[in-house]
């Protein structure tokens, strides 16, 4: 049945396009666009900070040495009781969180949805970030965890390294493309969840973490 429909649809498509010359897509329709171009910004990290704050997410800078204490500080600010730490996070962080008396949950074996729903916070790293749009991209590799981890808990502390921040979407797509080609799932996060569905009044935090806390790690 599906082959019949497939053949019919492809046949219709070919018939519909019969008026066009037999050229390759590239020869037929040139695209005047250069991919992966950076956007000129005065200061990429400052712009990134501006945008994150504009989204009403929290933003802090730290160094590699102070990262762990900032993670703990952030979690404590939000009254975190339990936090899920994906595998692959630096040991220093899990040690600091445990030492601060917060309940650490690991995802091995995988937490059930109910357990995840009852977990207050999650800490992840990321793959790349785009300054112009204040976007953080996860490819759910080591340190980031499977997608549900950064979705269900209400607080998401996200660690962004300074050299992961590029100017804008084109550079970011170029950086994340290999992960997509490896068939990794990808999540782009720009601020917290929001809706404007009721009378167009913007409401923050529908599903998804209502608190996003970004830690920018700058060694310089």
């Amino acid at each position: 049945m599906s082959t019949e429909a497939r053949d019919a649809i492809l046949g219709r498509v070919r018939a519909a396009l019969a008026d066009l010359p037999p050229l390759t897509p590239e020869a037929d329709t040139p695209v005047a666009w250069t991919y992966g171009q950076p956007r000129a910004l005065d200061n990429i990290l400052d712009q990134f900070e501006d945008r994150i704050i504009d989204y009403r997410a929290a933003f802090e800078r730290c160094t590699p040495a102070t990262l762990a204490e900032h993670v703990v500080g952030a979690l404590q600010t939000y009254g975190t009781a339990s936090v899920v730490l994906p595998s692959g996070l630096p040991r220093s962080i899990s040690d600091a969180v445990a030492a601060a008396g917060l309940e650490v949950r690991l995802d091995e074996p995988q937490l059930t949805r109910i357990e995840l729903d009852a977990t207050s916070a999650v800490v992840t790293t990321c793959a790349v970030a785009a300054a112009e749009t204040g976007t953080i991209m996860l490819d759910h590799g080591p340190g980031q965890g499977r997608r549900a981890l950064s979705l269900v808990p209400d607080v998401h502390v996200c660690i962004v390294l300074a050299d992961q921040v590029v100017s804008d979407v084109p550079e970011a797509v170029a950086r994340i493309a290999p992960a997509i080609r490896e068939r990794r799932p990808i999540t782009w996060i720009s601020g917290g969840s929001a809706t404007s569905d009721i009378e167009l009044s913007r409401v923050e935090g529908v599903h998804g973490p209502r608190t996003l806390h970004v830690l920018l790690v700058d060694g310089s």
């Binding site: 590239e26 493309a177 080609r181 782009w188 917290g192 929001a194 809706t195």
Partner: protein, 513 residues
């Protein structure tokens, strides 16, 4: 397929079993009244008019601001147009490539020629995946609305729960969407509270006691009501904003996180997507993920975008299906002019800027897609013979504001005129007498014969001479002139036409007399 069976009563008759989900309004969209008739009804709704004016003005300003931030916005539009043109002009190549890569990534691909076939496939897939629970969660998808999927599932005894806040409001409100991005814009906050109080408890967790009308509390009620559905979901149904041919990746652009919930918590994911939603390569996403958020919600970037390429081990649904739907798209594709409408990325910028839409809202259009894109695409997909479809291309003043904001440069005003031509040709082919056609023929004759026109001009001046001194202007006149004069004064024609003045004051070579 276990269809819901009528319930046999104790008296031996049968009644329809109770519905699983709220009943939508009765009737089919294609049977809607002509646009002018429904528009008049909608004009009489002051709550909607106020909401629409506020919402559309706000969203227009936001879009203009963020589009204006990018100094290469026009280049982006040109690139978006070119990439979509390339895709459509070689759609067979890209469909085959997409299918190969979807399959290689572990996604099963299905093809559906029309709504009926699509629903048959979807119901079958859902049946095969469900255990005892007879419900699915869905992310907002125009394609599923087009094929009326929810009702097909309801008839098969499966409840489809909308999880997008506005679609939830529409579903619980026994209503139809009125916009493709903010479908409940015609409702104000007290109406939303009433709907939540009245209906949430019947279909899940009731609204909290003492719920007020603050949007953030209404959203909070939705969060709680939907949470339990997300956490127990087995099957999720989505659409897709983009499908990448060279990798088999699907992309969903959203704001609330309900998409992420559906995409990562269920065991089985079924994505229903129009065949035109393809982009050739991953790199092409850099163009569309700049164009779409700025054009739709007027943000630099929407809160959440999800991309996935087949099942990911240990993460989210392990069974994935994509249902590719035609449902009239190949018909549109076969029209060299009309196919430009298939570039649409469903951003709603045209709807938000349309002065006609702002007055009447989406329900006046009798179609899943309202506004300028709806007035073009719906008659292309459904044909121009129904009363509403024949009227849609005329639901526009051709002001051109829509083209200015379309991120993929669809020439909407030209396509509206193109579809008007199709309506006219359709009526001619059917035969019979049409007043408008006769008038147009006569007018055409007058304007292509200079002497006929000159005589008409003189007649106007004569009329003016007859009325001068007696009447200052025309007030209300009988039908059909009443269409104009009910609201507007009209001056009487001057006593001397321009050409008469020129002949009186100039020689033919332009020198003065």
């Amino acid at each position: 397929m276990s269809k819901k069976l009528p319930v046999v009563t104790s008296r031996g008759g049968t009644v329809e079993p109770p519905r699983l989900t709220p009943a939508p309004p009765p009737g089919r969209l294609i049977d809607s009244p002509r646009f002018p008739a429904q528009a008049k009804v909608e004009l009489g709704n002051p709550v909607q008019r106020k909401n629409l004016h506020h919402a559309m003005t706000t969203i227009r300003d936001k879009r203009a601001r963020v589009a204006g931030e990018l100094d290469n916005w026009e280049d982006l539009r040109l690139a978006g147009e070119a990439i979509k043109n390339r895709t459509l002009r070689h759609l067979d190549t890209y469909l085959v490539q997409l299918e190969e890569n979807l399959t290689a990534a572990g996604t099963e691909v299905h093809w559906a020629r029309d709504a009926e076939e699509a629903n048959r496939i979807i119901v079958g897939l859902v049946e095969a995946s469900l255990g005892e629970t007879r419900e699915v969660v869905k992310i907002k998808s125009m394609a599923t609305q087009e094929i009326d999927m929810n009702e097909a599932l309801e008839e098969a005894g499966i409840a489809a729960w909308e999880t997008d806040l506005a679609e939830l409001i529409v579903q619980l409100g026994h209503d139809r969407p009125s916009h493709i991005l903010v479908p409940a814009i015609h409702r104000n906050r007290s109406e939303v509270r009433e709907i939540f109080n009245a209906e949430m408890g019947t279909y899940g967790r009731p609204a909290p006691e003492g719920l007020d009308t603050e949007p953030k509390n209404l959203a909070g009620a939705a969060r709680l009501h939907l949470r339990e559905k997300f956490l127990r979901s087995k099957v999720a149904i989505s659409g897709a904003n983009f499908m990448v041919a060279d990798t088999g990746t699907l992309v969903i652009v959203e704001s609330e996180g309900n998409g992420r919930m559906c995409l990562t918590l269920a065991d089985t994911l079924i994505s229903v997507v129009g065949i035109e939603k393809i982009v050739p390569t991953v790199e092409d996403l850099e163009v569309f993920l700049q164009l779409l958020p700025r054009s739709s919600t007027g943000e630099r970037m929407n809160p959440y975008t999800s991309m996935w390429t087949g099942p990911a081990s240990g993460d989210g649904p392990q069974t994935m299906h994509v249902v590719l739907i035609d449902n009239g798209r190949t018909q549109v594709l076969s029209d060299p002019k009309g196919r430009e409408a298939l570039r649409c990325i469903r951003c709603s910028a045209c709807i938000n800027v349309c002065p006609v839409y702002e007055k009447v809202g989406g329900h006046a259009y009798g179609s899943v897609y309202p506004g300028p894109i709806g007035a073009v695409l719906t008659p292309q997909l459904r044909g121009v013979t129904s009363a509403v479809d024949a009227s849609l291309p005329y639901a526009s003043t051709l002001c051109g504001a829509c083209f200015d904001v379309c991120p993929v440069r669809i020439p909407l005003p030209d396509l509206l005129v193109h579809m008007r031509h199709k309506v006219v040709e359709g009526k001619k082919a059917k035969g019979g007498v049409h007043t408008e056609s006769a008038i147009m023929k006569a007018t055409g004759r007058m304007f292509s014969h200079p002497r006929l026109w000159a005589a008409a001009v003189n007649a106007g001046a004569l009329g003016g001479k007859a009325l001068t001194g007696r009447v200052k202007h025309f007030g209300p006149l009988p039908w059909p002139l009443s269409k104009w004069t009910n609201a507007r004064d009209v001056p009487i024609p001057p006593t001397e036409s321009f050409r008469a003045w020129y002949a009186r004051t100039h020689h033919e070579d332009g020198s003065l007399k």
